[in-house]
């Protein structure tokens, strides 16, 4: 236990060191004039601007709009992917019938669909939500199917031997056993969804959102600092979302091997 704690602490310190080093390199490259300052402002200026934006209510409204589209798309993706995954994973006929379609759709890069969906739905929130949802469906869907396949057959037999039927096995064994996989899928999708939300906004170029802020700053003269400050915000949002989801998973699924150690 002590050793684990020492290792966690070491990892944390190394992480901090890495961030500081990257920060220092950006700062030096810009200040030494290796790259023109208008292309790459010093990291400290970018960071200062990012902090300043936290007090800018118009900017915060934009971030709020992005997060709303992100949450709505991700929520819809969960509502679709989990039931469909349970169906595909537990009824082999449906799985076989849909495999070809799924394998065709899956490798399509979601970002490439932005122009198409914009054409169909216009470049508003609907487009953004639809694209976020489309991209988020896959990791959740595949993790659900995979998790079902990994369910302990002995656990299923145990419940059957007590006289429970197919539906009870699905709800009482397969679903809880698959839940950690589904949660990991949601966490992966959360990052993908953020990419799609911001990317859709950048390509749309007008309206309200973090991506819009970045796109419009890119058009302004000397806008690089604002562009990068927006990017810092996007990265920070991703980091926070990931940390929150990891924490939730740890609380909900203490029995999984990777969380077990700290609860014993």
């Amino acid at each position: 236990m002590l050793r684990v704690r020492v290792r966690v602490r070491q990892d944390f310190l190394l992480g901090v060191a890495g961030v500081l080093l990257a920060f220092a390199i950006c700062e030096v490259v810009s200040r030494a004039g290796i790259v023109r300052r208008t292309y790459l402002p010093p990291a400290s200026e970018v960071l200062a601007r990012a902090v300043e934006l936290a007090g800018d209510s118009a900017f915060l409204d934009g971030v709020g709009a992005t997060l709303r589209a992100w949450a709505l798309g991700l929520g819809l993706a969960c509502a679709i992917a989990v039931p469909v995954g349970l169906l595909l994973g537990s009824v082999p006929v449906v799985d076989a019938a849909s495999r070809a379609v799924v394998e065709f759709l899956r490798p399509l890069p979601s970002v490439a669909l932005i122009p198409l969906v914009s054409l169909l739905l216009g470049s508003g929130t609907e487009t953004e939500v639809v694209l976020v949802m489309y991209a988020s469906v896959w990791p959740i869907l595949f993790n659900t199917v995979y998790g079902l396949g990994e369910t302990e057959s002995l656990a299923k037999d145990t419940l059957r031997a007590f006289g429970f039927g197919r539906l009870a096995v699905l709800l009482r064994v397969e679903l809880p056993a698959t839940a950690p996989f589904i949660a990991a899928g949601v966490r992966i999708s959360a990052a993908v969804a953020l990419i799609l939300a911001v990317a859709t906004e950048i390509l749309a170029g007008f309206g309200e959102g973090l991506g819009i802020f970045i796109a419009q700053a890119g058009l302004a003269t000397d806008g690089t600092r604002d562009v990068l400050a927006g990017v810092v915000w996007a990265g920070a949002l991703g980091l926070v979302v990931n940390a929150v989801l990891v924490r939730i998973e740890r609380g909900l699924f203490p029995w999984t091997p990777e969380h077990r150690e700290r609860k014993r």
């Binding site: 656990a155 145990t158 077990r260």
Partner: protein
């Protein structure tokens, strides 16, 4: 009365059990021994209705077993995989009671009662993965007993436990058997254990196509204890008899058959 008539099971085109016929009277504790790969687990899964019989039939009180029969409980060797880690010990034990539509409070009380009986009342709120192997198997046994099964199937339940825990659980099982009059089919590869526990011991021949090669009533005093009983001359003799049968296969050609199943 549990009856198996000319039961055969196949794994691909490899016979696991062939023409197995067996009668288990109500309230008997029958031990099934045999070398690994002789189809002991297949036999149990067939009786449990988890695996349909390929040929022949299994009946309970004359009714053919087509699905999982009523009043059945099973304890598997691998407690780690058969307990549900997302449920507490008490929830695990209370789960089978849901099928009987008992209200929550009663399920809880029943679970507490049975946990007390297996000496785990202190662990009710913990989770299976927080317990030692012996305690986990106690939970699995408690879960099997909570519905007062009329037929209890046990598949090498003590196989992976240390000697002390194993002896404790053997005595616990004997006590349950005496009190509840449950019919128990107990599969083991441990000859000593089969004689110590059983009212009767049967041995299966090595696969493929296992049959009953020994059917031996155990005439030992009903009240058994780990030191005394194992020292009785009758015990030593019975153990030797089972041992000879299991170690010298009736059909030596069986040894060249494929392993597994």
């Amino acid at each position: 009365m549990l009856e198996l008539r000319k039961l055969s099971q196949w794994y691909g085109d490899h016979a696991v059990l062939s023409d197995l016929t067996l009668k288990v009277p109500d309230g008997e504790l029958l031990c099934v021994v045999g070398p690994s790969g002789c189809g002991k687990s297949t036999l149990l899964r067939t009786i449990a209705g988890l695996l349909p019989a390929a040929e022949g039939e299994v009946t309970i009180d004359g009714t053919p077993v087509t699905g999982v029969p009523d009043g059945l409980a099973v304890v598997f060797q691998d407690y780690g995989r058969s307990l549900f880690p997302w449920l507490s010990v008490r929830e695990n034990v209370a789960l089978p009671l849901r099928r009987r539509g008992l209200p929550r409070a009663e399920r809880r009380a029943e679970a507490e009662r049975i946990l007390d009986r297996v000496g785990l009342s202190g662990a009710a709120r913990r989770h299976p993965w927080q317990l030692s192997g012996g305690m986990q198997q106690r939970v699995a046994i408690a879960r099997a007993l909570v519905c007062r099964p009329s037929l209890l199937l046990m598949d090498e339940p003590f196989g992976s436990l240390d000697a002390q825990t194993r002896e404790d659980l053997e005595d616990l099982l004997l006590q349950v058997h005496r009190n509840d009059d449950t019919t128990i089919v107990f599969v083991t590869h441990d000859i000593d254990e089969s004689v110590y526990l059983g009212d009767r011991v049967i041995a299966l021949s090595p696969g493929p196509g296992s049959r009953v090669v020994l059917d031996l009533p155990v005439r030992l005093p009903g009240e058994r204890d780990q030191i005394g009983t194992r020292g009785l001359p009758e015990f030593v003799e019975l153990r030797a008899e089972v041992g000879r049968t299991v170690r010298t296969p009736a059909d030596p050609s069986g040894l060249s058959g494929p392993p597994g199943a």
